[in-house]
Symmetry: C2
Amino acid sequence: MNKLHLFLALLFCISIQSQNIQSPSKEISLNFKLSTDGKPTYSVTFKEKNIVKESSLGLVLKETKSLENGFSIVNQETKFVDESWNPVLGEQAVIENKYNLITFYLLQKETNRKLNIVFKVYNEGVAFRYEFPNQENLNYFIVSDEKSQFNLTANHKVFWLPGDYDSQEYPYSETKISEINTDNIDRNNGISLKTINNKFRVQSPLMMKSDDGIYINIFEAAVVNYPVMHLDVSPSEYKFVSSLVPNAIGDKAYLQTPSVSPWRTIMISDDARDIVSSKMILNLNEPCKLDDTSFIKPMKYVGIWWEMHVGKSTWDYAGSQNAQNAAGKQIPTGRHGATTENTKRYIDFASKNGFDGVLVEGWNTGWEDWFGNWKEDVFDFTTPYPDFDLKEVNSYAKSKGIKMIMHHETSGSVANYERHLDRALNLMKEYGYPAAKSGYVGKIIPRGEYHDGQTMVNHFNFVARRFADYKLMLNSHESSRPTGYSRTYPNYIAAEAARGNEFNAWSIGNPPMHETILPFTRLLGGPMDYTPGIFETKMNFYDSKKTEQVHTTLTKQLALYVTMYSPLQMAADLVENYEKYMDAFQFIKDVAIDWQESKYLEAEPGDYLTIARKEKNGERWFLGAITDENARVSEIKLDFLSTNKKYKAIIYQDGKDADWQNNPKSYTIKTQIVTSKTKLKLNLAKGGGTAISFVPM
Amino acid sequence: MNKLHLFLALLFCISIQSQNIQSPSKEISLNFKLSTDGKPTYSVTFKEKNIVKESSLGLVLKETKSLENGFSIVNQETKFVDESWNPVLGEQAVIENKYNLITFYLLQKETNRKLNIVFKVYNEGVAFRYEFPNQENLNYFIVSDEKSQFNLTANHKVFWLPGDYDSQEYPYSETKISEINTDNIDRNNGISLKTINNKFRVQSPLMMKSDDGIYINIFEAAVVNYPVMHLDVSPSEYKFVSSLVPNAIGDKAYLQTPSVSPWRTIMISDDARDIVSSKMILNLNEPCKLDDTSFIKPMKYVGIWWEMHVGKSTWDYAGSQNAQNAAGKQIPTGRHGATTENTKRYIDFASKNGFDGVLVEGWNTGWEDWFGNWKEDVFDFTTPYPDFDLKEVNSYAKSKGIKMIMHHETSGSVANYERHLDRALNLMKEYGYPAAKSGYVGKIIPRGEYHDGQTMVNHFNFVARRFADYKLMLNSHESSRPTGYSRTYPNYIAAEAARGNEFNAWSIGNPPMHETILPFTRLLGGPMDYTPGIFETKMNFYDSKKTEQVHTTLTKQLALYVTMYSPLQMAADLVENYEKYMDAFQFIKDVAIDWQESKYLEAEPGDYLTIARKEKNGERWFLGAITDENARVSEIKLDFLSTNKKYKAIIYQDGKDADWQNNPKSYTIKTQIVTSKTKLKLNLAKGGGTAISFVPM
């Protein structure tokens, strides 16, 4: 090294600033530094093992210099936070929020622009975000790309979905990182709208496991006024980099200072239960912004819905479903599901069995030509079909103590929905609907937009806020997946935003492992309206030619009420099917849907999950245990139960000969007296599960 | 020719079908035929002169074979129509609609798809449209291009605007067809948003004059669920072809059969008055669809508006206009125009002078950061600034017999406007506003859309219909230019959609010829809210450093109330300016705004225009005469007046020393007794005009 080089090296050393920050437990350590050219980088260790190698951070802006390098650290601030809060509805009554925070105040000298990077280090992971403070040289700007790297250290096992701009309704692929390639997935999977542009792009949340047993999850929190982040992967290098979903003209995000990016999260643990039980995503969202949350109530419901999926009835009045040019020529065929009469039947059943609500899909005009043609003016959300009497249905429901759940299918024509939203919500108030399920099946209008772009993220959040204005609850289907916004607007009570149970009715379905991975991915962002409870799991029940089926046993369907958290839970099967199995149905009647506390007893992503939850405002506990395609035997300790109390355990378990494929309806129900000292042996069939009610004696 | 060739030629002859149809007057003749490859073509003659040479017709569709050739005629139908109708408001109480119609039913054999081409031949021109009938092989389709040719025969004089996707607010260029080149226009013209992609693209309506004195106008009517048609020109060949404005992803129109294209119109006459007085565009629209039109009333109004244009006050509360990050830091400077106090002053003036309404711009929050940044959530259309008391203002107006006119500036953020529209209109009903002026200054959101695309055309029409739902009137600014939709929804009472008077306040302005061409172009599609009546025409009146000025005399500003038809007419100047010239202002007080009949006495596009109109429900006549940059002397016969009646003519004319540039405020007012036999000599200064009230004695 000559003198000049030495001099330069010294100069660089001076400008290279490095800082460590640890989780409260000290197991996770984050290092942040600027590279020689002033590029922000970070790395993460867990129990002194490298988890994320040096990874750079930054953003590319449109028509102006990028925010990628040339930075210096002008200040930094640290803070330890240990607080707790009470969700309106949730898996637990109290959520702890404990982390170390560090903010790096960066200056890009050449442009005199400021950028802050904030890290929060939790016991179960690291989160970071970009902050764009109010400043003279940056006001409005357009994000062309975000370049947040996640450079992992080895070829982990990974559960991934292709980086589709419009859908997360895929089954998970379980491969090594090096094997990620979306060309290899089976595209005959029932998803009608697929927008995959890059075979090396996957979605977050991305659940991984290292060969040495460390669980890693990359996700994001508080996606507000920003597109969804997918991840571009360099498979052979185990590198991921953020890939934001574009809008119609290729821009990613329109921002104005002061503003912030969503949080990027990396959860890490050697105990999978730490990931699946984490409340980090909720914690990273803003606290509740509603003054009045009294209208937000959990709901267990049945509805006119599955009968359309299985082909018994149709959404549309004329039964022709997506008829061409059908307007004005609607002749009823008797197959319409959403009739006043059928609705009353569901109301009667709901009332008799202690349910809260009844959902009716297909009640309104538009279904006769709604799908697949990028049609703009489909539904008006206020005009019922002639055989659905809004007033009579709602009066009848009221007389039976039942609330009707509204349905707003938009068919992706969001512009049309927004135009009609106030009218739609006024109608709901007029008749007393407390909640609506919305749907977004189809290509988005405004044309060129994607389900996961900033425009649509803003739409979903706007709708939640507008519902809140009217004191209404929202359950969105085919929306972008939640990232904790339900903390801020808890009336956004649930979402689908993943491959739900419905795919089992008419596609290759959801493999038995599906429900064992969702809690490690989709559910981290908020409750999922998975619509469990299918008892007649084989579609040949309806049509002997059909081969489709639900990929679980009947008992696993029961267990899902515990393992698949949602304060809005459907008993999705037809009421006439439940009436044949009222002993098993008793669990669905009994199970709570809002919880005081939750215990994650066993967890392995893609394999199994066992959770026990205690009801809010009561002493009952409920347990759900599920397995994948493999049968499973397990012994669990009931030490979560109150000591000095005896409980009657009602155990719903797979029959000895049960398996999801050939004998799904084999189950047994037994009752046993237990205490906190009892150990229970669980026997789960292939694709099976166990559900238990613990009732204090 | 060998035998095979002879055989083929005969075959072709059989398939070549040709058909003529004439105007009721027989002066215009249309020929339609299929070319040898089954391409539809037409040509037009006027008094046996070729006006349009053989021009082909057709459309290119996305992802399917185009509708351009391979057609045969399977049927044709002709019809003579002679009817009349009564517009709710208009230039005349009765509109005649007389034409010969021919429909060609075409079949594209290869695809078994049907396409109809319909022609209507009026005395003043030809119109044609594409019809897409209900059929098995064409349901949903996307128009990628429309290829309607207009092949003219010579190098006519043409008045053109560049084919901008977002603005028609240009001054007209007057050149030969061969000289069309949008690179040559002065772009320092005050237009903030320009989207010109092709130097050989111009807008319609396109007004032309041949060397031998024939006037030709290409335009369109009934643009509904379709983009605006611009025209691509081959300057050396005098050929024009339709060029549809695209959406964000380059598509032009999304249609479903049965549907129709707008009408493409070619007006032809050797008397310019036949063009400027034509009601063909209105006639080609659907009849009124409103059951109740009683709420649609003409309005003469003043308002808080011009004072912002001249720099006396500001739209926003804090007076900082487009402040960066101003939210939450609004400190009033005393320059805000839309205060309760100032509004009352305008209400007093309006009431005292027999006006109907007062417009107030800048009354609502959002103006502090509204412009130029493609911001989405700008205005909510319901929240007033602290110094504007909605309730007090409206109560006061009511007590004075004045209606307030609402203002909805969207800043181009249409998605935001649609989200708030019902709320905005409910507010109007709550306070009794009968009408709103809307504005679209800025790049459109949904991003990637243009002011003239199908999405926006649909938006403007949707808003008009929504206003009708609430029995409200709409006056849109910066919208796409009207094509007669006000016949169908007459509550769409006026629009700007061209370069209005406002440009004179802060740009190179509108040259003196501007108002002599607009009636031949923009006004064919519907009333224009030009906002005439500026008395203090020089901006150095407000600020000695300013050089901008209105390019007319004061008297021409009066004449515009007659020559620039609108049932919604503003007296745009400040009330304190009118108070200095109450003798001249008397004409604005007197002039009618809804008419029994209109007589076009003299007309030459770009040079001069003289119109006399008789008020509806009264016996007064009003005359307006305007000229371009040249002074003009003219003698007019008053034979339009009732015979056997004497009238007091109050003549407002340019002073002898008047000219628009140096002495615009020189005027004289004289009174004269006239009859239908009187001839009046008009003396118009450079950029001048004459306005006359005829009051029966």
